[in-house]
Symmetry: D2
Subunit: 345 residues, 4 copies
């Protein structure tokens, strides 16, 4: 059994991790860490675990004394909060999967520009494997430390990677118009997360300045072999879960929709969690699952391609992908414990 | 492997059955039957099964020729539609689990009064075991034919059974005020099921005349050993899944909340799917699961007890309970294939 | 022009008051008071007023110096917070409409028991007219100080008043099962008000102990001429606005549904804002309006009557009713400025 | 009093028209026409009008005999259904405001290409004034026949018009990513409009082929003085009302966000219903109103401008705009009867 623990276990991504780890037949949850709810029973915070999970949450301080007991540590904290924990865990030989943003950007300067914080351990960046399995599977298998991708970034990169890798679109033509469920804002107390402020409304936010932008650019630049700058516009949609990314690019040459479909199916042919379908994706079809559904349309009139992708932001965009990474790091079947289908209704 | 099939597989309860049967390690889905979508790929109707389920739906007519191939038939049709299918399947030695209402009421006259239809096979009633596992487990184990309980009835009976069985409340004092998600109305095309007509609103409906009333009365009468007549009031709530039943009864004698809790915990002590908790239930904590959560409050001022239960109407109220029944009928572990927790967010 | 002001103007009830007062042709808003947002533009807090309302919020301290400038003060604060403000305003000859709970209960002891707070100005209770217009219209016309009813209480009392006034039901048989939208919990930052915690779920809360209970009992006792104790059970429903109250009572004598309808139509025959209809109410039909819709069913089997009422909790249950009171207090047409219909979709 | 009538009065746009016309102090509704509900009381279809509107719906056939009685006819029918009605009404000297699509496209060939239907009265096209008041106010004042713009088109054109009129962006760079509430699909019975199929999900639809595309292109081409081809991508969002259009264009020259704001404020300076604000719009701030809120962001990195607009699809995108047109056609104040603010919660 893999002995695992979750820091930030009572946040929305963290509790989703608990869900998967509890069900995982090769994992035993050693402890759950919560800053806000230390000493409280986890099932009092999330009543869906009544009679199922008996753990009391422990504090970060308490955790530090127990790092020896575990094989893998999942960290689901806001950016800037995981630096010390990552360092200590790695020093003790614990594998780390960090769901936060602190080690996703390869360049310290880029991190500091977008997050307004110092990258405190730049020397760890070379060890931090970007945990997008479909792109970095081989590296992840050998990794001790994985920086788990952001939710918007997962949906965006998976949608656009083949187009850039195959040189199909103009690299300065990319627009990603993304729509996220409210759980993406986390469980923190903010007026903008209140039911009355989100329900029955849609808005754009963080336009031109959202922090997932450089992460998407970094990975798509690698795909293209050229530096890419793009527009990323997130929106807030009144639903619990799901991200839909509608991605636009200008075609370099004449290419049909069918040909692009063929390229995508070939590119992702071994990927269980990527489904390329004729129907355009709906988030409900991936809700509760680790799948990323992708549909493609070519507009002959404007010579643009539109790729639409859908994921569950808490699963393929966070906890599910983290478990997918863990499975690879520990030599397990990649879809072990996360092979659940959406109940679309 | 148990060879199974689902009639009405493209309705909301039917597709939920497909979800569970597909994941069940001892079941192979032999065929899916759909009146509306015969000859169409099931995954075209429900895109969450893209690349996962390859079956084409077959018609009821085609099914009749293939009954020999299966061990168990699940029927998820509107009332009045399953008579012939039940008869033919039983005659061929196929076990039947009928999620419809046609064989739930023990008395033909009662069926005819509430449903306005003739009970066409009254002789089958004696063989139809009422499939509420927590009450009729032993009979179900030996059954060839199970009438799976209704959604409201499951929530209501489980909430009130111990009170009546132990003689705690006045039998003429029962009021059940129940609230259901919209999926309870099924996938049929009705103006009242349109998004714009359900969203952002709550209403009562079927007041004093809902067809689940006699079913609840029948079972609670057995619990009490006396004929019970009660008020059952259903409401429609803007959400996809879930039923909350708020049940009221007048206490016969002084009894504390703690004592009633003790009685419930004892009564349901071996039941994995029943959780008696101090916190009052929320439907989100059972959504996507087969659990029934129950909370209890005694009002010292009015000498009433209020029992609140929550289920997922499509699971414990339909498909999950059907699989629970199947597991028993075939000698499997009772929670095999349905032991999934709610993702409460 | 009536010069008015609102304390607590940035809460959900308060902002609804601003909406009505802004549109009211006989009212000028002199100032808006906000503890949390003093010095900020009201339209920055509620962007729907961009370019429409220019006021900056002022603090409660600033308000106290400006009481002379106004004719009427609306107070929309949590319980316990309005005592001093009420006193000061009345002392300066300003009419007061208090949307909070502090002066609704006639007995100080009852207030102290249910709210756990001292009634600081018991001598003001005799002047505080309970602002349920349909019952106390004549008193309100002459009032200087109105205690505006609670949201649940408005729906419950209007539903049950005729039954008790006419002695139709057993007074110890009353159960009110009420369902409220999330805005009823206000704009305060609580985990339980987050989108992710409310959406797609229903729960009961405050069972047997909700503070609107004694308020309902007080008024229905007056209707009956006897002391009434009853069960009131509130629920939280995933929608922005609306309360549905499903009220149960045992009939004393045989009386038909038609006769009860007749009694209700007679009782409310001059009431513009009460609609007695054959169809059972849906909250969407009153959402955004000051109407209270009522439907009635008699269950011949159980000899119970079920009365269902629907209101918009922020309007008839708060701000609309407050304006209705103001209209009467100032000799205006009762429905001036609040005669708006629901957009049901 | 203007004597008016509505054809298609029981559809979602139609009933919204009834709402406004009923409240309009210069309009009397002479009759309401409904194909589906002829002979039924309008308030039985929409219970929010109980005791308020007494009209029975009449059939289209009955209407034809009563055209003489009215001054203005509003038509809210699916495309292809209004040809004869428009012709007959105009022939009788009745002013016509057609909320359908049949006379919005200036070129018959374009209509026939996108709608797959013959333009039956091309000779009427020269008289059909495109009813976007902010652009065509003077023509509308003199019009007998107005083609009321589509919902997506209203949001899109108002967002982009100044950019194109002032030559600020590359004309081949335009992408409109629009998000609509479910009421945009109307009240017709379609599986895709069921609550269970829309709730808790977002999807794109009609990608590259939506029929509002040529309408947007037609009007923006006029703004630019050049033929424009663009990408328009609609999405379905789980809410009752609202459209958000996120519009992207490549800047021709360096221009700051402030300068573009200045241009917009100047361009729309006399427009009551257009609000240019620093905050990005949310649909809830225009829901229930005739406003169009617009916010602007310039991305210095990519040299693109993003303009976001929000409207209520049933009001500024349909019925409110129709009344705005009527007001002009009859010499009334432009915002008469439609000057209502959103209740944002």
């Amino acid at each position: 059994m893999i002995k695992g623990a979750v820091v930030g276990s009572t946040g929305y991504a963290g509790q989703q991790l608990v869900w998967f780890l509890h069900n995982h037949k090769h994992v035993k949850i050693e402890f759950l860490v919560s800053h806000t709810y230390a000493e409280e029973k986890f099932s009092k915070i999330y009543n869906n675990y009544t009679e199922i999970i008996q753990n009391k949450c422990i504090s970060i301080h308490q955790m530090e004394e127990k790092l020896e007991e575990i094989d893998v540590l999942f960290i689901a904290l806001p950016h800037g909060k995981s630096f010390n924990i990552v360092k200590k865990a790695l020093d003790k030989g614990v594998k780390v999967i960090d769901l936060g943003a602190d080690f996703r950007l390869n360049e310290s300067a880029c991190y500091e520009e977008w997050y307004g914080l110092e990258q405190r351990f730049p020397e760890l960046l070379k060890d931090a494997v970007y945990g997008l399995v479909e792109i970095y599977r081989d590296k992840i298998k050998k990794a001790e430390f994985v920086a788990n991708p952001g939710c918007y970034t997962t949906a965006s990169i998976l949608a656009l990677y083949p187009l850039l890798n195959k040189g199909i679109i103009e690299i300065d033509s990319i627009i990603i118009d993304a729509k996220s469920a409210v759980s993406g804002a986390g469980r923190g107390l903010k007026v903008t997360s209140l039911y009355g402020e989100c329900n029955e409304s849609i808005k754009a936010y963080g336009v031109t300045g959202h922090r997932h932008t450089p992460e998407i650019e970094q990975e798509l630049s690698k795909a293209a072999g050229e530096k890419i700058i793009l527009n990323f516009t997130p929106h807030l949609v009144p639903m619990n879960r799901g991200i839909l990314a509608t991605c636009y690019g200008k075609l370099k040459n004449n290419i049909s929709q069918e040909e692009i479909y063929k390229i995508y199916k070939e590119f992702y042919k071994d990927e269980y969690f990527i489904r390329i379908a004729d129907e355009l994706p709906e988030t409900r079809n991936v809700r509760g699952s680790n799948f990323c559904d992708i549909g493609i349309r070519v507009d002959e009139r404007t010579k643009r391609v539109i790729v639409v992708s859908a994921i569950d932001n808490l699963i393929k965009g966070a906890a599910g992908q983290a478990v997918q990474n863990m499975n690879l790091m520990f030599g397990l079947e990649e879809n072990e414990g996360i092979n659940i289908l959406s109940m679309a209704i």
